[in-house]
């Protein structure tokens, strides 16, 4: 397992090196390896297949154009995430789709304190494994709620939430990807979690 991991790392640096020297096959292999990762991340951020496809295209065009700038100090995947996140941020700025985003200002402690009134219910009431028509309707409703809530988050917080809580990246790696400090990541993550929990609160109380 460990040997396989090391071999993969070696293969990847070799692939990157070859691609940097103009080997198109090596570049195609990198695309093949990471296209799902990029698409999946883009979809989680914009919650829209068409936009995720556009982001996928833009990302690999940028990767190809900037490949010679990759110096190997960070992991290739970290560098790739930097490009995807930049594309997501650029897309947001261009289209101004986030008009409904909430303020970047942190909720004050009183708000957080009042949030303590929340009521937990068993998770099986939210996500059912049986797919009856009623369950499908509940799942569709839940999915729409999750989409609506996350799209209200400012992009900077949304990206941090997805990197940390959905993709399971560390705070340190998220900080490298977004080129901000670890405390800044933690602060954005806290705001995102508090906001999303509040958005889902009513659903959890059903």
């Amino acid at each position: 397992m460990e040997i396989e991991k090391i071999q993969n790392i070696e293969n990847e640096s070799e692939l990157v090196h070859k691609a940097q020297k103009g080997d198109q096959r090596a570049f195609s292999l990198l695309v093949k390896k990471y296209e799902s990762t990029v698409y999946s991340f883009a979809y989680k951020v914009c919650r829209n297949e068409e936009k995720a496809e556009e982001t996928l295209q833009d990302t690999f065009v940028n990767v190809y154009r900037k490949l010679d700038q990759f110096n190997g100090k960070a992991k290739f995947s970290t560098w790739l995430y930097q490009i995807v996140t930049n594309n997501c941020l650029m897309k947001r700025r261009k289209s101004k789709l986030d008009k409904s985003s909430v303020s970047l200002e942190s909720p004050d402690s009183t708000q957080e304190d009042s949030d303590l009134q929340g009521n937990g219910v068993p998770l099986h009431t939210l996500v059912s494994l049986k797919q009856t028509p009623q369950d499908e309707m509940v799942n569709k409703e839940l999915r729409e709620l999750l989409d609506t809530a996350i799209l209200k988050l400012p992009m900077e917080q949304r990206i941090v939430f997805i990197l940390r809580d959905v993709e399971g990246r560390s705070s340190e790696e998220a900080a490298k990807i977004l080129k901000v400090s670890v405390p800044a990541i933690k602060s954005r993550l806290r705001r995102a979690r508090v906001f999303l929990r509040k958005q889902l609160q009513k659903y959890m109380e059903i």
Binding site: Q24, K44, L56, Q57, V61, E112, G118, N119, I150, R190
Partner: protein, 85 residues
């Protein structure tokens, strides 16, 4: 004095700390006190529970895979770009 202050953590401080450090393996003095608080404060337990559920729902929300058409479009676009270079 400092220990006394830490032991008297208020729920909003706990909420802030938990929201920042959920899922992290921390063993600091403050973390130990917060864990202790969480064992005895029903309000904070509920809050932690709803926070965990929120993260769980997003983590387990299905993501569509890349379509064959999107894959072909990507490869075609990149091939064209590489040919032009």
């Amino acid at each position: 004095m400092k220990t006394k202050k830490i032991n008297k953590l208020r729920c909003n401080e706990v909420a802030k700390y938990v929201c920042e450090n959920l899922d992290e393996q921390l063993n600091s003095r403050k973390c130990q006190v917060i864990k202790k608080h969480l064992q005895t404060c029903p309000k904070c337990i509920k809050q932690l529970d709803s926070l965990k559920k929120t993260v769980f729902l997003y983590r387990n929300c299905p993501t569509p895979g890349i379509s064959a058409q999107a894959h072909r479009k990507l490869i075609a676009g990149l091939s064209l770009m590489m040919t032009k270079k």
